[in-house]
Subunit: 228 residues, 4 copies
């Protein structure tokens, strides 16, 4: 597969954006060492831009980012793609509306994932951003495609842009790479708050019709312009 | 409604102050992403200065701040006001002594709010700053005025400048925007300390007459000049 | 009381040192807002150098530091002394070997203090630095001298340079202001580690003869030169 | 013992590397004050490069690093070696494949160590990096060689590059000083995540054959080139 000249500009732009978004992961304390990765779909092409494998956060530059196809095979770049590339690629292949994917082992969310327990919707900000509980995906081994399948099968049935992969960590999706990063930040934030709340008793539930109302409003009117 | 020339100087000054105070929220780890907001009343006018909706903390400038009336309608500024503006406006309308309002989803305070549980006064710094427990306000949906009403009805009956809104987060008031920010910082600090203390047993109560004595002293003699 | 020219140089030096040491408190996450203070005795004089009341950590300069006598009365400086000055002064008056005092409301140590519970000596670093458990002092109100008395009466009977004042916070002492700051940093660190350890079970005790042996060794041979 | 000219270049290079790696300890919140140390073996020589005793992290320079033999005796440098040097030296003497050693009192890992409890392998990243549980070593006093013996006897029987020394802290080993630092960072990260997960229930186990498969893959294919 070759990358034509006209798509090069788009890719150059996405390399900058994806490199910049990686800085949000340590800034929001979602990752340690070289763990975690952000990718963006190349619009209209069966390609994605992602972090290379095992590179420190202070060495991430646009040039270091790599381009792969939706099988996870390297198309452009000097370094090997992240070992999580196959999972990102599977999501883009099977969820055409997804433009960005993020993976972290953020502490509190991964603590829920280790118990295989969904985060209940007991905060208005969970209703706003996730539209209900944050669900758990299956145990899956890296290398056999089961991570990507587990993400897609879980998120297809939920409003939530985040899934807690059992014994592993978090994957989030978004209508842009930036929105997927936002979902990863919010997921850890609510995972922490609900964890703490549960330590000293039972958080109060929010009624389903309130959850629906909060979700509809937030998806339509928050921010400087409609997000959908 | 028009803003006359003479109030423009005051508003220009408040834009700088409110923009600067927003930096205290991430510095004190009270917010993630674009959550949280600070406002100031324009003295003697039915106006307030507040953060626009959905803007990153590293993009907050005096120019980006917006001015609304006490119905939350935009009077001056390029961007849409924070989606929490109606709640701020309601507080200014019904509590004439309040000059500043802050809203956060700070982690430990919100964990108490999710259980609908007040923070008991078991530290001398809670007696100093809050004069007793930090109370819980009702569950309230954004958009129908119930958040503002819940804040005002709860705080009218308490010494505390902070209220934990059920399943939501924290609102604080102050005799200045800076004092409201201080209350938000102290609220999270004591929410965390009492949370931790409770995890391993029961914090010892402080007798009511000691609470009264600490509160009176702190409100009158602390700092470089009396705060009231 | 007047300060003669020859002691002015010493005081000028201590103002720089005490101002610099205050930066360690936020750096080590021991304080929020304007809470916390460090003082140093002026050697051979009944004087101390301390932080003024209610001043932000980013506004602390050598010039802002104030000098008081051992009754806590201002001798030199533009601003009012910290409201905790009387407690510091009492310690210097009654413990002649103490050259530095630190006060914080650091989170984990204060959580133990709220329960009125000593931190048990279950880590070799507690044995090294504190020589046994970190004890609890009495409940004491600011303003009547009972805080200073509580500190002195508790620490006189312990190897520990740190005391957890009930429902309040931590005071530490040292053979220098820097050593008192070190004790405050170590106190919070072990308060946190033992808190966490206790959450999931019972930390294993260390036998008394091992505690004694660790303490003797650390007080005599650690660092680049003997500390006593 | 004298250091010949040809080994001086190697040592100069290791001084820079070891000094730089010390910056990772506070950056990853593994240490407070002067605690913690990193060392590197001088390849092909019975020498190691290590941090001096009791020196602040902001005063660590290549020149301040010291060189000792494998008895922990100073060979080159101005300052006294870390009081943990004997333990590092013992590891290099008895584990010839080890090129780097790290010691910390990182909070969550030390909380497990205080209970004498191994960290169970309930996360895929524990399987990847540690190949199973992170084991506990014996209680050992500084000064009699028992720390070094405890590390070596524990790690010889495990895949894990990290050992939790009872009532004390963490030691990690690596095929380079950088890999030993990575193991220390990952050890604290998984200690924290599993701690939190256990607070609200029982983390789900990972089957042994999955652990074996994850470990084999990670040790062979992760990063830009094989790590073994």
């Amino acid at each position: 597969m070759t990358v034509t000249t006209d798509v090069r500009d788009t890719i150059a732009h996405l390399r900058v954006q994806v490199a910049d978004l990686h800085a949000e992961l340590p800034r929001n304390q979602l990752v340690v060492w070289t763990a975690g990765n952000v990718s963006a779909r190349v619009p209209g092409r069966d390609l994605l831009v992602i972090k290379p494998s095992g590179v420190s956060y202070d060495k991430i530059t646009p040039e270091a980012m790599v381009v792969t196809d939706l099988e996870g095979e390297l198309v452009d770049g000097e370094l090997s793609p992240s070992s999580d590339t196959a999972a990102h690629a599977y999501v883009y292949k099977h969820m055409p509306h997804v433009q960005g994917v993020v993976h972290t082992h953020s502490t509190y969310a991964t603590a829920w994932a280790a118990r295989g327990e969904a985060i209940p919707c007991v905060l208005t900000m969970i209703a706003d951003e996730f539209g209900g509980e944050i669900p758990v995906g299956p145990f899956a081994l890296i290398g056999d495609g089961s991570i990507g399948r587990g993400i897609v099968e879980t998120l297809r049935n939920h409003r939530s842009p985040a899934v807690l992969m059992r014994n592993h960590g978090v994957f989030t999706i978004g209508s842009s790479a930036r929105n997927a990063v936002k979902a990863a930040v919010m997921c850890e934030d609510v995972a922490r708050t609900v964890h703490l709340s549960r330590q000293l008793g039972a958080p109060l539930p929010i009624e389903q019709h309130h959850i629906d109302s909060l979700y509809q409003r937030y998806q339509n009117v928050y921010g400087q312009e409609p997000t959908k």
